[in-house]
Amino acid sequence: MSSLLSVENLTMKFGGLVAIDDLSFNAQNNQITSIIGPNGAGKTTVFNCLTGFYKPTTGQMYLHKDENKVSLRKYTDFKIAHVAKVARTFQNIRLFPAMSVLENLLVAQHNELMFASGYSLYGLLNLKSYREKEKQAVDKSKYWLDIIGLTHRADDNAGDLPYGDQRKLEIVRAMCIEPKLLCLDEPAAGLNPKESAELNKLLKFIKNEKKTGILLIEHDMSVVMGISDHVVVLNYGKKIFEGTADQTKNSKEVIEAYLGVDE
């Protein structure tokens, strides 16, 4: 089975600081690949390289989309989501707080709607083809809202939702662009145990039903160990371990990195 994402010898230097040092790993379709490591290990930097915020010093990142091998280096800005079909979330919540829950999901379907509406011209004229497309977009949003149980709050401002719901909405919004790869940066941060169990359920659903590969950065080990198919452990920008969740739990290197070594 060919992998969805292959990162090859990725190195990112900021002046003298080596944030990522010769990192290689693969992520598979329909799997959750977790990247863990102590603070400052370079986890978010990996995401920033993947999503075009940083240009890696050396190394390659390939996304395999239906037989095509796409280099992520070539894409920046909106093309990451639009062309490469990589979606991401951030450590802090970045919903559009002054827009309704439904609108937040519709924004993610902007490109399809924009095309269908002839760059808003048909939209202004309210043509039938546009209305149908818009109905489809609304239906898709409703489908996702049903899954996270927020249908009754569709018209409320996203900023008024409880924290846990905002987290889920953010993930679902990323799913609305129909990504091949979903990068989640600490989605469980600040969630209570009940909310984080719901999050696990949502991520499993996405993995199994939507055939999307998930790349996950997380500190909450109950989440990581509960749902990961594959774990990559980073420390000081280097990969120190790679394996299944159980293997990782018992790995000597990983325990040393997190807890330190006896003198």
Partner: protein
Amino acid sequence: MEYFIQQLVNGITLGSIYGLIAIGYTMVYGIIGMINFAHGDIFMIGAFVALISFIIFGLIGVALPIILLLVLLIAMLFTACYGWTVEKLAYKPLRGSFRLAPLISALGMSIVLQNYVQVAQGARVKPMQPLFSGGLEFFKNSEFIVTVSYLQIFIVILTIILMGIFTYLITKTDLGRAQRACEQDRTMTALLGINVDRTISITFIIGSSLASVAGMMFVLYYGVIDFYIGFLAGIKAFTAAVLGGIGSLPGAMLGGLLIGLIETMWSGYVSIEYKDVAAFSVLIVVLIFFPTGFLGKPDIEKV
């Protein structure tokens, strides 16, 4: 009483023109957080394009309603091109720069546009013969006859139609949704696959075409223009945008109306010389009590 009504009508007409310009300021501020000081001059360009096309169509001899429609479209098209070019030349290269850089660039662009029109069109004032004549008269039996000219009716109705379309565009269509998304978080909007640069360009295009309509109204209403009209009208419209709450679209319309009314009331009852002073003084007083303007969102920091 009759005199008051007359001033009210005049004020609403003037306020419509200011409101249309103010929308351009407030939209650009909302989406990229800068004051586009060249916007007043875009309005002036719109007025010149309108004047030139009025003269051309007048010479050909087309019927009045068709002239109005054609001039409207031509002025919007040309001025939108100017707005788009200004954004591409003067603001886009500075997108990642510090906040003051595009502001200074905007002031420079304003001077460039003014001088360009001065060189291209000459410095003398350009008159135009009134296209509209007559109007409705009210209170014929009293001492003061209130006249609502057809031109005033035309201006107000056109403004209402444009504001209606515009409000629909921003609140209901996906283009408006993308613009509001850019306003709140540009990075995240890009990560959802939306071309932010294009959305910003469209914002400039819409703002400029609304300003050109205001320019056309100005030509019709005052009958004289020169290359310098953009400065004062721009400052007034900017004041209107701030008064209503910059970044808020209904605020810009409300602010435009208020500035128009204050100006005409002051010239009607106090003195015509100090009408600008009155408009700006009201701004200062309002900002003391409503620092974010009438309809602006107060910036509440969550801790």
